[in-house]
């Protein structure tokens, strides 16, 4: 007999941690579904798209909280509770499943929008409108369970590799199979999709649920709970994991040079960045080897990773800021006897330096694809990386949780406005016009455009960064 004592408290705690975001995402999704039925043309896709964005944020919530629990040592406390670890893990996974329920109405809204935009103005087959989002919800739930379980057991510090891997894993997995088996698997998969989309009656749906989905779900859940519990049992709090992960081996240390705070901050960030991304640099080299000499599927896999890693080199400095916000270390920078703008410019210099190897890596990748690199192309990529990383750092430091409400209200207002519009594609038309204008600018200014955009981001980013740093207050204060 399994002792389920503690299941409900674990579940409740997990649900409570994401109540606000999940409720907000759910309300937005329901509104979106309602609004989408009143629209047609490509504008009908907009509410569903916005709702999906909120649902994806809610989906990441349990993972983010688990990561914070590992980092800050809260899992150690969990282990001391008089609750069986598997029960605690099960409660947490079930709670996470509840937190991501807004995905279902968001997918319904998206599907309604899709049908409205591609076909007649009626909503379409109601069973498919339920089945497809349900399948999506189930897949998202199972993926979340396993990511949480894997993360509890092995503690992935960074999940940058995740989206690309999820996208390419089936392709890479198929690649290693013999050709005949690969064809069989592909055919079975296509047949399963056809069977799923061909379901016409409620009874067939029930049979499918009982015979296939439910047993599969139970197995996935049990496996994830066992792995999660194993992670809890082995967990040890490591204070050195806060902030930049430490590597071993000789390296250049930071020394005083007496040239003022701007260079001091820049050198500090660069010193930490070189330590932070040592492993990623090794991975980058390996991926280049794979992209050059690997088999076709693995080559595609590597070519999708390389830009992510290249962008991460400068963006990692922005990520250091987020870690500093969490641990309170930003207060040390905040109270240096120099202006917050000077500190910000130090960060900018560090980002600009780290963007250079990123830009070179990207152009090297392009060269492997047959596009010869030029100095201008390298500088253009460099400018983009600086804009992205510095923009992320400034906005990330300036942003407050309470702004989320304003953003959600803005999106809801946008959806309500769109529902009042007639059937013409004004929203999508406006977005397309924006893209057209950007292309016109690209033609007019050529490779100078990224430099212009970077300049704007730098000019706007410095006061945002300074304001964010000046107003920073550690959570414990």
């Amino acid at each position: 007999m399994i002792d389920l004592h503690g299941l409900l408290p674990s579940l409740r705690r997990e649900v409570r941690r994401g109540t606000v975001l999940s409720l907000a995402a759910g309300v937005v999704a329901l509104l979106a579904a309602g609004i989408a039925t009143r629209l047609d043309g490509s504008a009908a896709m907009v509410p569903g798209g916005i709702a999906l964005l909120g649902a994806v944020l809610a989906w990441f919530g349990p993972l983010v909280h688990l990561g914070a629990d590992r980092l800050l040592g809260y899992l150690e406390f969990d282990r001391t509770l008089p609750i069986a670890l598997r029960v605690m893990a099960a409660g947490r996974l079930l709670g996470a499943s509840i937190r991501i329920l807004p995905l279902f109405p968001a997918l319904v809204a998206l599907l309604i929008g899709f049908r409205q935009s591609s076909g007649p103005a009626d909503v379409g087959d109601p069973i498919a409108l339920v089945v497809i989002p349900l399948v999506g919800q189930v897949i998202a739930t199972v993926v979340l369970w396993w990511l949480m379980a894997l993360n509890a057991r092995w503690s992935f510090r960074r999940l940058w590799w995740l989206p690309t891997t999820i996208g390419f894993l089936p392709q890479v997995a198929l690649m290693v199979l013999p050709a005949s088996l690969r064809v069989t698997v592909e055919n079975r998969f296509i047949a399963a999709i056809h069977a799923l989309t061909g379901i016409a009656t409620g009874s067939q749906l029930v049979i499918l649920l009982l015979l296939v989905v439910v047993p599969l779900l139970v197995a996935c859940f049990a496996g994830a709970a066992i792995l999660f519990a194993a992670g809890l049992a082995r967990y040890q709090f490591d204070p050195t994991q806060l902030g930049v992960s430490m590597t071993k081996g000789a390296r250049v240390e930071l020394r005083a040079i007496g040239r003022g705070p701007l260079l001091a901050v820049a050198r500090l960030r660069l010193r930490l960045a070189t330590e932070q991304f040592r492993r990623e640099l090794v991975v980058l080299v390996v991926l280049f080897m794979v992209a050059a000499f690997g088999p076709a599927g693995a080559r595609d896999f590597a070519r999708h990773y390389i830009p992510v890693l290249a962008a991460l080199l400068p963006s990692g400095i922005a990520l250091q800021l987020f870690a500093g916000r969490l641990t309170g270390e930003l207060e040390g920078l905040q109270h240096l006897p120099h202006s917050a703008s000077t500190v910000g410019l130090g960060y900018l210099v560090a980002i600009a330096v780290m963007a250079l190897p990123g830009a070179v890596a990207l152009q090297l990748l392009h060269a492997m694809s047959g596009t010869p690199p030029t100095v201008l192309a390298v500088l253009s990529s460099w400018a983009w990386f600086v804009a992205i990383a510095w923009g992320g750092a400034a906005v990330g430091l300036w942003f407050r949780r309470r702004y989320i409400i304003a953003v959600v209200l803005f999106l809801v207002a946008l959806m309500l406005t769109s529902s009042l519009l007639d059937s013409e594609d004004r929203i999508i038309g406006g977005a397309i016009a924006l893209v057209d204008r950007y292309r016109a600018l690209q033609i007019a200014f050529g490779p100078l455009l990224p430099f212009g955009i970077t300049l704007i981001v730098v000019v706007v980013g410095v006061p945002l960064f300074a304001r964010g740093l000046a107003r920073y207050t550690p959570q414990r204060a």
Partner: protein, 243 residues
């Protein structure tokens, strides 16, 4: 700072939280003084120390450090105050000496020789990573980081907490020597260790539920300690109802 002006002047300082209010508090600290802050847990000691250093932004009343409010003074004014809590506020991947090197670049008055002297006297291994420091070692590093540029006002939050007796005595002696010979500098620190308070301070401010309930001269503390009544006396004050 003009002649006779206190290094720190606090007038009607109030900090409001949903479940707790600190103040209104008023007091002043003159140059050469060492002042202890005593109180039960959650009495508001750390909040007060953070408010006077400018770390706490949402407050009412007046705080003047060398005549100017740290919140509205130019950034370089911050070099007049040093604050050390339980650990250095910097990424744990840095070694202690790297952190000192960074601060040396940032503080115009940073004295490398003084930093090295303090490091040696406190037996601090500056090649260690900040993230791996024990509690006591982290306190030492934080203290040197706040003291090596000789701020006018040194603010220490439980400076001897977690230190072994040898290092504790060393820090107390350092602080005594330093502030006794510096009429243009002052020290304010919080502590629960009454022996340390008595050994170091010229006077003690007693906080209870966010209110300043009593001010006790260092000589009174010394007498109470000599008669074995120090703990009883302080506990009596902290227990008594606020008038």
């Amino acid at each position: 700072m003009s002649q006779g002006e206190p290094i720190l002047l606090v007038q009607d300082l109030t900090v409001r939280y949903p479940a707790f209010t600190l103040g209104p508090l008023s007091f002043a600290i003159q140059g050469g003084e060492t002042v202890a802050l005593l109180g039960a847990n959650a009495a508001g000691k750390t909040t007060l120390l953070r408010a006077i250093t400018g770390r706490l932004r949402d407050r009412e009343g007046r705080v003047a450090l060398s005549g100017r409010d740290p919140l509205s003074a130019p950034p370089i004014w911050r070099a007049r105050v040093g604050f050390a809590a339980e650990k250095p506020q910097v990424d744990g991947a840095l070694r202690v000496r790297e952190w000192f090197a960074f601060l040396a670049d940032c503080y115009p008055s940073w004295d490398v020789a003084y930093q090295q002297d303090l490091t040696a006297r406190l037996a601090l291994d500056d090649s260690e990573r900040i993230g791996t420091l024990s509690r006591g070692t982290a306190v030492k590093a934080a203290y040197i980081g706040a003291e090596a540029y000789r701020p006018q006002l040194l603010v220490l939050d439980e400076p001897t907490n977690g230190l072994d007796p040898v290092v504790r005595l060393e820090i107390l002696e350092l602080l005594r020597n330093c502030f006794a010979a510096s009429p243009d500098r002052a020290l304010i620190f919080s502590s629960h260790l009454l022996d340390d308070v008595e050994a170091l301070c010229d006077r003690a401010l007693l906080l209870r539920d966010g209110q300043l309930v009593q001010e006790i001269a260092g000589t009174v503390l010394t007498e109470a300690r000599a008669s074995g009544q120090l703990t009883t006396m302080i506990a009596g004050v902290l227990r008594s109802p606020i008038a």
